[in-house]
């Protein structure tokens, strides 16, 4: 068990090093002649107007909130899914009760018009 996570740990480290290798290699052989015009931000050939880090739609926040509710609750479903075969139908029904609470949340968000993109 401990070996498995050791393996994952080494894998993560090598997995991060591998894509850095071509970048370093490219740094060694590629030309580096930069100037302010080359470094300027692309905006269809015209000068950039205003700040690039613009404000964004509040709608993204609402979707993020709906997502949070679902994501946390779906994680709780995994232990239930693993234990279905061992437990009687009654326990399965309790899980379904939990899912119906999820559905109620979705229906509420839907009725409130949170899922509309304006």
């Amino acid at each position: 068990m401990r070996n498995e996570w050791l393996y994952i740990g080494i894998f993560l480290v090598i997995g991060i090093i591998v894509p850095i290798v071509p970048l370093v290699f490219s740094r060694l052989v590629a030309p580096r002649k930069t100037n302010p015009i080359k470094q300027s931000t692309y905006e269809c050939g015209i000068e950039t107007v205003g700040d690039s880090w613009v404000q964004f739609k509040a709608q993204y926040y609402i979707f993020a909130l709906v997502f949070l509710v679902f994501d946390v609750e779906t994680v709780f479903l995994f232990p239930w899914a693993l234990s279905i075969k061992q437990f009687p139908l009654f326990v399965v029904m309790e899980g379904i009760l939990f899912i119906s609470i999820l559905v109620a949340g979705l229906v509420y968000a839907w009725r409130k018009g949170m899922l509309e993109w304006e």
Partner: protein
Amino acid sequence: MVFVNDPIKYLDAVIRDLLTGWGLSNGLSTVIIYFIGITVLIIFAMVLDIFLVWVERKVVARFQDRLGPNRIGPFGIIQPFADIIKLIIKEDITPGGADKFLFNLGPVLAISSVIILWAILPISSKIFGVDLNVAVLYLVAAGALGTLSIIVGGWASNNKYALLGAFRMVANMISYEIPMVIALLIPTILADSMSVQGITQAQGGMWFAFLSPLALIIFLISAIAELGRSPFDLNEAESEIVAGFHIEYTGMKFGLFYAGELLHAFTFGGFIAVLFFGGYGGFFGLEKIGLFSWLSNPFVQAIVFLAKAMFGYWVIMWIKYSMPRIRIDHMLAFNWKFLTPLALVVLVNTAILGKVLAGFPNWIYVLGMFSSNIVIGFITIQILRIYGRKQRNTLLKNSSTNGKNQEQVA
């Protein structure tokens, strides 16, 4: 013979003998062996990635009635190497206002988020990285990391288009992760296991694609959305936001994003094969017959797995090159109003029916599961048809009244 039947164990024993013979402790030799094994696995994945670039270019050419690369080497198979050399010697331009650290982190994460998925990919019953007992959750976590690379890259570029691409990717990811996780619950219920080896072995007799075809479709759609490939490629929509998140990337950094996307698609093809098509096995008991016992050889299994993964990759490509891009409001509505409720219905169906039919013989179980999915699919299509007709009628009514008004005005 030992090597043919269990190559990893054999090589592990040989190298361990050698290292302990040099006087190293057992724990240290484990770390060194892991190091060697992981490096070989990752190099295999990267070489496969280079091959995938060629496959992608050749297949898209055929879809668009072109020839594709055919100059360098037989059928142009050396072309990706020429591309890599070109990408490496190109100048790497960092835009002036960019957040340098995050700008460089983006492409690195794009590749490493895919590579870490290979740690749990069961290439065959003997050749695999590690058999985690929470592999399904690991898959979800690593998938989210891939999306993070796009968000980081888009935000750090200091470009409005790149930022718009990143925003769209956030909306995309947080929406489609829900049906994906629910679709992942269904193989978990059917196999009673979260490890990929367990799920593969549970499909020895019957693929989960037959037990729950709807879950397969839901997983495929949400995997494509998570990859950000067409028709969900809003994050790089060339015709609206030019190239989206990788607009400011040049040279090898762009190459890493590109290679990461292809390998990600192939890896998801592999996971579709594992979760729904029996992975390296799933021969319906054929390998138990003496004549076909060679099917349980690890190398044969690896070839079977890679073929199935390639098929999944090809389906993802097929969808990519034949569907137009959808609008962002349609994309979110499709997920929240259609895919998520459908996934929940399929989940409840699988849980109850799996419990009720557990005592019956196997063929009734399979038939019941399959037909229940067909019934749910049919009802869904009917509901959509009624809804579509209603919406079409209101649109027609509105347009006809508008026409009348115009006539009166005239």
